[in-house]
Assembly symmetry: C2
Homo-oligomer: 441 residues x 2
């Protein structure tokens, strides 16, 4: 069974909006065990909508449409859908009551524009929209079976039409949804994916994403090569690299939920024993949230002393709601004078070792620990670039120190030559050094 | 003249990668004055590629393809292109020399896989790739003229084929590019867009984006309504809102480069005189880069004292290369104890006014100015949420102070209830307050 996605909206074609709806829908459908055949993105004209509906139905059994409906856009898409399915718009009391009560909750009167939204195609099942006023519409249509695809030399469409099987009819499902991301997502999650699963019984599918830090994709691939080669055929592996992090996604497919789940978890366990030092979490975990939980459990506080990361570590830590219960503050010492004034580092230490050195980063960590009165400190000093590198200390050279109630330790890294990526990699590396220490690794 | 875009890649369909290529291409082509008709995203199978090539050629005069070529993906796409265009792969000496010299520069031997990339379709113009090994391919093909679009009731494809004009031939251009974003972008910018402009002479087009801060989209729209209604018909206006910033894009279209440019600039000037307090820059300007330039010119230094923004302002400021020449450091005082220890705020001030108050944020700014020994300070104290709000000071309440060599001033804001957006809006608002002061506004 093939699924296609049609996104309607001029704003997508002129690049004003990046089409995150398509990738989200593709991901959710894949995760549910369906195969997505094609995305088609078109403007909101009758001609383009009809062309896309027709061609998608020739190729696929399910066509999911987002966009082109809503208070100011309703006209073209809904009337075009009616023409395509040979039906007409009728006033839907239930849909109107929904709009009315949504407006009442917000203290507004229903406008004429919104009243129009209660007109729905007679010949469809409408899908409630908990978060907006445009309902979803579920259509089913008999369709000639797939036209054989043209190949070079037989591009004569007339010849294609004569091929056997063309006139057989089959059912195609079309579902139209609003383009507003959170409205579309809620309809997909609460109704459409469930309904498609009930109809088509895709295979059981189970995903687990393992998050690694501190090792590049190709080095990681070399270490786990044997494990990867011995994965059972029911499990596929995908490498999903981001700056500073490589995610490994295992996808198991089978006939039984419980057995495919345990098959994947077995392989995850092997992976944990193979590269324990690089794995920091799974699925949606974030390093800054993990260390937050660990600090809370210990009842300990955290501060940072940052030079080249310029406050990015503090920003990540404080992006987590509730971080004020363990994060007390930071000293961003970009200039050496600030390192002296606020962290008590001696001018001689700079002269002897340079600002990017084990000695300075260690003193930064100790200085922040006492000045901020915290249990743990992350300290970073490095050369983010593009300027400031030397033959001995090229751009990307970075020292990271962690101060704990018991000790201070530091490590040197050589990242790349992109300023943005160096800042990001240093921050993730530093957070992971603290995580390992908190975990007793 | 219509353009279509085809993106090839399974990773796009399963949502592993968001399709930023399509939106970038759509934007660049629109900016160059072309109309993009459709994006089609497909997996890398022969059947899907043929189907997409065929159908795009029926609708459009130019078809731009990205993805499906490169060292490990070459086979299917290139042989399928050869079949579609009725040609064959031949070894291209010039292409091979390019690959060889690129490898020599990096100190590698050419692999067999990369040698294969020098096989190109005989019947195409190949496009050099300065940043990779996969060349672009420019094909031209005679094609039956557009099939009239199906409408309800006449979905019989055979009937469509009989309609007049079907058998007329016209030229369709197909260009195949790699899917690696920077390789595709360089080919588009250096060759393809220029070539399409030469062939099709689109109308002159001129864009200018005005950046505003400190006012919401609907309030802004109300203020500039009259100006907007009186825009000449050759100019279109688009609102592009982001958290904390609303961009206004003016697009002028005409027959003459110089006259359309001056028409747009005239309207931009009117806009400047209408809302001078909200405009901070144009096109790709960034607030953190603008204040950096201004501080450098004055030979002045900057520091921050941040509570709820948690280092995000320092991060923005230090994301600009060369910021170390004016940014000295920050005190991130998340906890009141740190505000006392590092900024010298009296416990009584908290007791009397609370941490989110004009008095505290003003003392933060003055304290940082002397402790960090800087000329200018941005200080922020607020309630980012989700917790910490009270009836008098709900989530989103934020005080921002600016200390200059001459004065300190503070202002209160009430942002929304999203933690992420509150942090971002507070940071942009604070940077803009400093910019206005530096500009003497």
């Amino acid at each position: 069974m093939n699924i296609e996605i049609i996104n309607i909206g001029d704003e997508l074609l002129i690049g004003q909006v990046v089409n995150t709806n398509a990738s989200w829908m593709g991901e959710q459908l894949s995760l549910a065990g369906f195969k997505v055949q094609q995305f088609t993105i078109i403007g909101d004209t009758r001609e383009q909508i009809l062309d896309a509906l027709w061609k998608a139905g020739e190729r696929s059994e399910v066509v999911l449409i987002s966009g082109g409906i809503g208070p100011t856009k309703d006209d073209i898409t809904k009337t075009t859908l009616c023409d395509f399915f040979g039906t007409r718009l009728v006033f839907d009391e239930e849909a109107y009551k929904d709009v009315e009560s949504m407006f009442a909750r917000r203290g507004y009167q229903v406008t004429e524009l919104n009243r129009q939204q209660a007109y729905l195609p007679e010949d469809c099942t409408s899908i409630p929209n908990k978060l907006g006023t445009a309902r979803g519409m579920w259509f089913e249509k008999s369709f000639p079976s797939r036209i054989p695809h043209p190949v070079s030399g037989t591009q004569d469409a007339e010849a294609r039409m004569q091929e056997p099987g063309y006139s057989k009819l089959r059912q195609v499902i079309y579902v139209s949804m609003p383009g507003v991301p959170f409205e579309m997502k809620s309809m997909m999650e609460e109704y459409i994916i469930h309904e498609l699963k009930t109809r088509f019984h895709p295979k059981s599918i189970y995903h687990k994403t393992i998050l690694t830090q501190g090792i590049g994709e190709s080095f990681l691939a070399a270490i786990i090569e044997e494990w990867e080669n011995n994965l059972p055929p029911a499990i596929r592996l995908a490498y999903l690299p981001q700056p500073g992090i490589v995610r490994l996604r295992l996808t198991g497919t089978g006939d039984n939920d419980a057995s495919i789940r345990s098959l994947v978890e077995e392989e995850v366990e092997k992976l944990y024993s193979l590269i324990p030092e690089y794995i920091f979490g799974a699925d949606d975990d974030k390093l800054e949230a993990i260390i937050g939980r660990m600090l809370k459990e210990k009842g300990c506080s955290l501060g940072t002393a940052e030079s080249c990361t310029g406050g990015y570590i503090a920003h990540l830590v404080t992006s987590i709601p509730g971080s004020s219960s363990y994060f007390k503050g930071s000293i961003i010492a970009y200039d050496n004078e600030v390192k002296e004034l606020m962290l008590g580092i001696m001018p001689e230490t700079f002269e002897e070792f340079g600002a990017v050195s084990e000695e300075v980063v260690t003193e930064m960590a100790i200085g922040a620990q006492s000045h901020l009165n915290v249990d743990y400190v992350i300290a970073v000093s490095g050369i983010a670039g593009p300027d400031g590198g030397t033959p001995e200390k090229p751009v990307g050279t970075t020292w990271i120190a962690i101060a704990t109630p018991d000790e201070v330790f530091a490590k040197q890294f050589l990242f790349g030559d992109s300023r943005d990526r160096n800042i990001r990699r240093a921050a993730l590396q530093a957070l992971n050094m603290l995580r390992k220490n908190l975990a007793g690794q």
